[in-house]
Structures are given as structure tokens and as C-alpha cells.
Symmetry: D2
Subunit: 337 residues, 4 copies
């Protein structure tokens, strides 16, 4: 039984906690930490977890705990990864692992030094459809990737400008797409980025600096041209799709339909859309934690690593600088900061 | 220029008249006959057709006319085919060509004796999707057909029990499905039929003998088992589909979507359905008449013949007797009538 | 922790055993019984289950065990249900619960007498798409059901005529479709059945009495006409679909695609099909056992009951008699046996 | 009968010639001009057209001719439009109408001065799916457009670098997408463009200056962000799609399937793709010429005008300059040339 501590008990953390407590064989939820008073207590109680605290360091200090799942706010991620690695814990960290390259480097170095697995919450890599697309690329069915697309549209991100950092659309949303594009173009690296972003969902947020809509064009060193696209509000549901087109074919992935049921009525042929990421990616979220637990047990390298997190972050940083400067930004340029 | 006379100027006849006058190269609409006062006049005038009459025999008597398209009420079909053949005209006749086998035999014999082409309005044979399904069968992609299905659902057949013959669902609607099933199972013939029919759309019609919903199970001599299904009212649109499943694969055909446009809104992902046969089968209706005109010119055998009409009729008659007797009916049995 | 014993460790039993041992919170796999030497031992060992036996009665005799999952051969089901109920165990029994109505009645009576939950393995009732279709019916979206269809095609049922009872296609395969049709037409009961069956996949089996292809027409007392269809071999994968068409709309369910990934190559746009029931219905199989465990704990009535099993069986028996007699069979007639 | 002369008898010109001669009521093909020896003769002969010439000016000089369809090489378009307008002919001109803004302006001015209709071959505006998408936008179903996408992938453009101008992917291919994006975002105009292009299909062409793959990001003055994407080789067929996403919903359009037939075999569920634009857009190509003929007759303004051609050209020119300079280019900047 792998003992796992959860750090951060928001919606995503709670789901991972439930997976550890109830959905994944060979794991147990050994502790829950969340700084908000009562939050960890309530989740721990509901999941028969023996220990709850407002202080993550208590989880890290517990010698019985083998691993931690970090689902805290993004800005705390890198420091927690570092601390957990120093404490000898295997680490699963939600995306983004860091929002500065130097922090990412320190987190990676800490995990390396401690010899612990470090896995990042890019759950699309564990989704059945995305995996099939990747397999199609790896098997040569797509040939050399030439054009890629990845998009994320949230049904309605409940955000308050005061609480949401300005660049959230890049750091939290598009980071998934940047990872997906890299993963579906496996023999190349991004070299240049051009990005446009705006406040189209809530124009009144623009002056407060919050952008809710963005398109990013990413150039790869094999010539492939990719677009990533995000919106904070799609009235029809949670929409995540990807497409990789190459010299030998195309793989597309993503189906917003909630189930295989289709209703035909006076309005036409209708399929309801998925309304949340926990619905659309339910199995992938479970699978990534199950795989993490297996890596902890076997010592295998996770399928999404700290290096992957860093590479996606670099694209995000280049995209942000592109929005700031109005021109394309080479990946090399964000390394100089 | 093949000169074609139109007999019957209802909705289907008017469409064929327009095709002859405006859509098909090498044909001209030379005459329109319809017994209802003014109907032929109006259609002929709108299509610059030089001759209109309430008397079909005037069309048949015209030596300038090479061929006729018969779109009169079903009960008049067989007699008109016979008369037209006797007059030496090539004949396109809407389905059903006849509603009694003896009439069908006489019509076929008349066309044979006159040496004129006789084509029946089974337009599904000219639909792109249905043709692709048939090609898949003929090429061996489906293997030996084992299970078939064909269905027809009308958006809302505007019928008055007083005007509609009781067995319309078999003679006018399912006759298409019977033909489609035969055509998609090309190396076999129907041997036995079991049918159930009811007045589910308008239960009050039942006592007046009008059935609006039916399912027919057809056994073929290669063992294949087929179902044909019809309803007079589908709220979502005009629904025509077929499926042929065999030892090597399956071909399905039929897409009720009006266009390739899909709208995603709060209610889900929506495609509007086609609302009429003239919409869904527009191209097939034009193609069958164009092909008929080509047969008239070249002497080629039509793709749907009098024999096909007779074979579909025999299945319809067996289905009707099955409803009457409550048991399965062998095709051989309806030959004895 | 609900302690559950497994009786029968074939493919389906092994899956349920895994669910009990590893996938379902609040359950534990307490015993495995299988008469084949070594089979129970191996499964129990792989799932850390403390007890294995070749004798099911040892499981029933264990006072620590709260419930049993019966996944033995069909002919043993009813007797095992009865015995388990007598032993005071809650019972989950794979379909068919019985292959004779008297046996079904005894099983139901035993469970009633013991006051234990009795659930049948009609997992489609737990499938997301099927549930959405049912919800659409219950909410009135479909209106009064008029035409229904349910089909099951196995990729390639590995069967040996010597081992497979003649009427397997009805008792084991179509029993699912009979249940689905009843469930999707919730305000009606079947009244008459007409069936056709043949050996089209393996014609050489026919003389040995094994039928592999069947179509069944079921009449309901609300007038609805349903077809159920089965084949033992579909080269493209495991194909389970249903359609319910009514006065207000249509719900269709079933998607044979393995994932949301579509590959477009020189051969066209391609989606791979699911190759097994354990793949296509993975979540439904887990959900039905989870729900059973919840019923054991809460005393709630299962979503598929012994009465449902009996009603589906009656349709199967009527279908078999229809094949034997060549005519339609009223449900009332099979009650007289 | 509107008498129409055809200028340019290549693949597209020949199709329009056939439409004028055989598919469109009320039009006749009165002349064919093509500078290549014998080409006009052969097409005219096959279509029973009375006049063929290698000299377009003979067509323009013919007082019997009401209108011309220009399907010559792109570089000749603007001059021919101007000459035809001066000769008082109504003009249908294939895209691009011009490849320099000054030429476009002269062509528009000539048509205005002559008071003749000027229609451009943006046939997507006449495609059923694209029209439905536009209707969805106009009716408010999409709300304010925020994110758009349009793409064109040719199955295998047979091109010789020596014969193909360097910027063909922008002038000839993406010009369709630029028009589609403008048409689907009807209350806005493009303000800035960023483009990336490469020779990924034939890397050896790159040094000869021929680009075969491109992605263009277009900013509109309502904030909408659009991407246009092109490739000269898609192994699966001719792929044209569009998506418009807004505050109230999304419309997608484009279906590469050749027909409604789907084949399921061992390789999965397969739909063949359309292999040519003349196949996928057959009806739209006929409809645009039919509409042009109607405009000639009625004096109505065409649905795609010279101003539309100019606006799409401006985006193409900005895209080309973006490739040349490596940075974004404002539309205003290309006006200064």
C-alpha cells in the first residue's frame, strides 16, 4: 500500500484524494493538507483519511508517507515540489509545475537529487483518445507532423479578476495545449511563438489585465506549425480537441459529447456536451494518479515529467512575452531572463 | 433532344417536370397531363412547356413524344404503363408500378412487346450513399449478406384517411425499403415475410383501416434476415437509412442531416434534419430521370426495371397478407392469387 | 466493508472479482469458487483474496460473507440464486438468471422469502449512453414509444457447438436486447413475439443445432413494435446499439468506436471499433457491481431485478417457440408450459 | 437566355462551361476562349458551343454576349475584368480577382463605371453547409464571433515549381479562407495579420521559393482572432472546414466524407474522403454560376463582390509581407504600397 499525502483540497485535489482513497488499488490517502480552515478536515473525514492539517510541512515530515499529490494554487507548486523532494517524497504536481523557469529548474533538480519520481498533471496523456492519437503518430500513421492544433474551452470559468492572475489563460489553460502539441509532435521542439490574447468573454476585465481568450502559433524545429486556442466560456460545454496532420495522414481527438446517446427531436439531432473537465477527463484523471502510484512502487519514469512541465512553461512564457511585445518570440529568448 | 411527356402533376410529378424542363441536358418537357382542371396548365406554363391537357391519352397519341414520366396516383400506374408501351413510348413510372401482380405482369409484358425501356422510380438506387453501399456489397466488402435493415420515416405525411388507401404504408412507403433490401442483397430473393402494422401516429384512423406504422421481417433464400420499418411521422425530419451486415463487414447509409453544418449551443451539439424527400433525395431524383433519358437515347436497360417493381410488390402483398392472417407468408403464396 | 463471494471465475467472473477486490470502494472479495481445479485458486491469489474453493456451497456457508456474485454457467444460475438466498446472502446473478420460468419463479421467491436483494447482470442499464436514452424516454422527450431496435453483435464468439447449448443466441445474447427493449419502453409489456434464427456464421453448426444469427420482432401492449437482432460474428468489433422512436422524438445509443480518436489516411476517415464487451462496457460492469454493493448496504431495490430477468426470459422462450413453430407466439402461451 | 462567354478552359473553366451549357436553365454557353491551341475548340465542340477562339478579345467584342466567366490564370484576371467591363459585359471572375490592390481597384472601378455585375468565385458562399453556418451567425446563434478557423487542404496539388508563382498558397488557396473568415464574421474587418509558411510537402521546392504549407493568424476589429490554414497535400482527400465560435455558440462546417455511406470492416469504421474540389463543391460551383446568371438577368448585386475580392487580397498581401518580415503586419500597411 503506497501512502500518499494530498496537498491542496480544492476541486481537483478533492478528486485526486477520492481517487487515492477509493478508486486506485494499492494506494491509500494518508493525509490531507489545505491552509483554508476546515477544508482538509472535511475532505479527510469524508474519505476516512486519518490525518488532516492546514500545514503541508506536516505531511512532508511524516515518515510513513511515500508520496504527495500537490494540487495547491499554481504559484505554490514549485516550492512544494522542491520541499517534497527534499523530504524524500515521490511527487505528483498539478500543472503548471512552475511559472518561472528558474523555479522549474530548482524543482527538477531537487527531484533528481532525491531520486524521487516527479510527475506533472498533464492528464491528456492518459486519455484514451489522446493516447490513440499519439500512438498513431509514433507508429508512423501520421508521417512527419506538419500542422497541429490543440484547443481548450471551458464551459464558464468562474473567475474573479481580483483572484485570478493576469496570465492565467497561458499558465493554467493553454499549458495543457502546449504540452499536447509537444507530445503529438514527438521528434521536435518548439522554436518560436506568436500569441494574441484578449478579454472577449468579459471585456470589462481587460483593464484589470485579465485575458480570457487567446490563440498561440507555435513553430517547431521540424517545420511543423501549430496553433493553440483557449476560451474561458463555451456555452455548449467543455471542449478539448486536438488534431495532428502530417505527410501520411491525420489524427483528430476530442469528442465533447457527454455520452453515446443522441436525441433527435423537432430541433434536429442533438448530443449534449460535457459540462466539466471532471466529467470529460474522469478516467484520465484516475489513470494518471494510478500510473503515478505505480511509478512510486516500481521506480518507473512518469509519462509526464518535470522536463515536460518546463518545456510547456517556456512556450507559455514566450507567448506572454509575444502578447507584451506584439511580435514573435523565440524560445531561446525566454531562457535569458 | 428527347421529348418527354409528364403524366401527373402533383409534387413528385412537378419535380420531375422541372428536371425535364430545366435540369437535364438533352431532354425537353413536351407535354403535361393531369386530370385536375388547371393543374397541367399551370405547371406547363411555368416551365415553358408547349402542351397541357387533362387527358393523358393525348400525350400518348403525340408522335413527337419519345417517352413519358408517369407520376399519377398509384392505382392508375399499371394501366398507364401498358397504354404508354402500346403507344411505343419509353416509360418511367413512379413506384408502385402496380398494386396487383397480374397488373404488373401485363405492364412488363407490354413494355417487352413494344421493346421500350421501362424504369421504376426507386430513386434510392441513384443516391450517392446507397450506390456506395451497393458497390461495397458487389465488391465483396460486406461478404455474404446476413442481416439487413431499411427504414423510411416521413416527417409528417399529410394524409386524410378518406383519400389514402388502407395499405399505403406497404404499397407506397415500404415498397422503397423492399426494393432497397433486394438491391443490397443482390444474389438472393425473398422467400418469406412476416409483418406487423398499426395506427400509432393516428390511433383514430385505425378503425378506418389506415395503418401508419409497420415493421416487416423478410427472409431471403441465402439465409439473410431483413427488417423494413416505416412510420408516417418522425418529428425530427425525413429519415431514410439502410444497413447491410455480412460475413466480411457492414455498410450503413443514410444521414438525416440537412447539411454539413453543426451548431453547438446551450442545448448541445445540434444538426438540423432534412424535412422532405425532395430535399434529401434531390440529386437522386434528378439522376434517375437523367438516367432514364439516357436509356431512352441509348437503349440501355434501366437500373430499376419492371421486374424489380414486381418483386418489391410481391413482398408488399405478402406483408399485407401477413398482417391480415397474423402469421408469416411465403412469397410463393401470393403468386397463387 | 461488504464481503462478497464470487461463484464462477471465467472471464466475466474474473472481471467482477477484480472489481470487488480493486475497483469498488466498500467491497472486498472474500471468496472465490469455481469447480474447475485451480481456477479459483489462481484468481484468488492474484487478487489477494483469502479463500478459494471448488465448492460454491462453502462460500454460501461462510457466515462472514454478505453477498455473492454468481457468474457460473447459465444452467446453474437459478439453483445457485435459490441456494444463496436460502443462505441469507444478497445475490448478484449474471444473465440469464434462469432458462425456465419455473426456475426463475423459485429464484425470485427464494430471494423474496429471505428478504435479500437480487440483482441481474443487465449492465446496459448502467451504461452512460443507455441511461441517457432511458432518461430521454422517462422525461417525455421520446413521447410514446412506437418503434424500437436493439442489437448485439459479438466480434467472434469463440464457441464449440459441443459446449454451447442450442438456444444460446436467445438465452445469453438476445436476453440483453429483450431487457433493453423493455427498459426503453417503460410503460408497456411484451405481448407477442416472432423470431427467425439461423446458422449463417457457421452453416456447418446448423445440423448440430447451434444458431448464431437471429432477428426477433416483439409486439408490446402499447402498440410499440420492436426488433432485436444478434450475430455471433461482426468482423469490425463488438457492436451494441439501441434506438427508441416515438411520437415526440428518437433516442439512439451505441457507439462502437474504441475512443474519440479518428485517423484519416489514404483509405478514408477511420475509427477503430471496440473489440470486446469488457472494453465497451467496462464502466457499466463496474457500476452495476458497485450499485449492487450499495444495495446490499442500504437495502435499496436493485435497478435490474429478478422480475426483469423473468420478463426477458419469457420473451426468449417465446422467441424459441416461434423458431420451433414458424409462427408468432403470444407471451401468455409460454406461461402455460 | 443569357449568353455567356467563357474565358479560360482549364479544369475549373471547363466545369463552368459545362454548367452554362447543360446545368443552368436560362443560360447558354455562347463562346469559349483559351490561348492554348485547340483547347477552346475541343471544349466548345463537346458542349455544342458555336464559337471558339484563342483570343479573349473576340469574346468581348461579340455584341450578342451578355456576360463572361473568367477562369484564366490569376495574373490575367484583373485585366480581363477591366476589359470585359469596358465592353459592357457582366463579369464572373475566378479567385483571386487580382494580385495587386491597384489592379483590384481598377477592376472594381471599371465594373462600377460600366454598371455591370461583378461576381468573384468564392463558391463556399454558395455551399449549403457554409450558408447554414453564416445563417447561424446572422441569426445571432453564435453571438459575437470570438474565435474562427478556416482551412483548405488539397489532396495533392499537382504543381511544378517552375509554373507556380511563389505565393500561390496565399493568392490561390488561402484567399478562399480569408474570404470565408470575413464572411463568417460579418460585422468586423481584419486589422492585423501574422503568417508562417514553409515547404513541408516538398522541401526541395523551398529554395525555388515555393511554399506549400501555411498558417495565418488574423486579428479582426471586433477582437475576434482567426486562423487560416493550408496544405498542398492531404493524403486522405480534399479537406475544407470552418468553425466560428462566439459568445452564444459555435457553428462548424465541412465534412470530407464522399457520401453518407460508412463501411465497417476489420480496420474499423471507414468513410472515404472526397478526392477533389469538383466533387466536394459540385453543387456550390453550379449554384454560384446560376446565381451570377440570375444577377445578370435581374440586376441584383452578386453575393461575392469585387470589394470582397479586394478585402481578401489585402489579407493575403499582409500575410505575404508577414512571411517576408517575420512579424505581424497591419492591414493598413499594405495599403501604402
Amino acid at each position: 500500500m503506497t501512502a500518499v499525502g494530498l496537498i491542496g483540497a480544492g476541486a481537483m485535489g478533492a478528486f485526486h484524494g477520492e481517487s487515492l482513497a477509493r478508486r486506485i488499488f494499492g494506494a491509500r490517502l494518508a493525509a490531507v493538507a489545505d491552509p483554508a480552515p476546515g477544508v482538509a478536515d472535511r475532505l479527510a473525514a469524508s474519505l476516512d483519511c486519518p490525518f488532516a492539517t492546514t500545514d503541508p510541512s506536516q505531511v512532508l515530515a511524516d515518515p510513513e508517507i511515500d508520496a504527495v499529490v500537490i494540487a495547491a494554487p499554481a504559484r505554490a507548486h514549485a516550492g512544494l515540489v522542491e520541499a517534497a523532494a527534499h523530504a524524500g517524497k515521490a511527487v505528483f504536481c498539478e500543472k503548471p509545475m512552475a511559472i518561472a523557469l528558474a523555479d522549474a529548474d530548482r524543482a527538477i533538480a531537487a527531484a533528481d537529487a532525491a531520486g524521487v519520481p516527479l510527475q506533472i498533471g498533464f492528464q491528456r496523456r492518459f486519455d484514451r483518445g489522446f493516447r490513440a492519437a499519439r500512438d498513431q503518430v509514433l507508429s508512423g500513421g501520421v508521417g512527419e507532423p506538419q500542422l497541429l492544433r490543440s484547443l481548450t474551452r471551458d464551459p464558464d470559468l468562474e473567475v474573479e479578476p481580483a483572484k485570478i492572475p493576469a496570465w492565467t489563460v497561458f499558465f493554467e489553460t493553454l499549458i495543457h495545449d502546449f504540452d499536447a502539441l509537444r507530445w503529438l509532435n514527438p521528434w521536435a521542439e518548439a522554436v518560436e511563438v506568436y500569441a494574441v490574447a484578449d478579454a472577449l468573454v468579459r471585456p470589462d476585465w481587460k483593464e484589470r489585465g485579465l485575458l480570457d481568450t487567446a490563440v498561440v502559433l507555435v513553430r517547431f524545429d521540424n517545420g511543423a506549425i501549430a496553433t493553440a486556442e483557449a476560451s474561458f466560456r463555451a456555452v455548449y460545454g467543455y471542449d478539448v480537441r486536438a488534431e495532428v496532420f502530417g505527410s501520411a495522414g491525420m489524427a483528430t481527438v476530442g469528442d465533447i459529447r457527454e455520452s453515446s446517446m443522441t436525441y433527435s427531436g423537432a430541433e434536429g439531432v442533438v448530443s449534449r456536451g460535457s459540462q466539466s473537465n471532471l466529467d470529460l477527463f474522469h478516467d484520465a484523471y484516475v489513470a494518471e494518479i494510478a500510473d503515478f502510484v505505480a511509478c512510486v512502487r516500481t521506480g518507473a519514469t512518469p509519462r509526464s515529467t518535470g522536463e515536460d512541465a518546463r518545456a510547456a512553461l517556456a512556450i507559455a512564457l514566450a507567448a506572454i512575452r509575444s502578447v507584451e511585445t506584439g511580435g514573435p518570440v523565440r524560445l531561446a529568448a525566454v531562457e535569458d531572463v
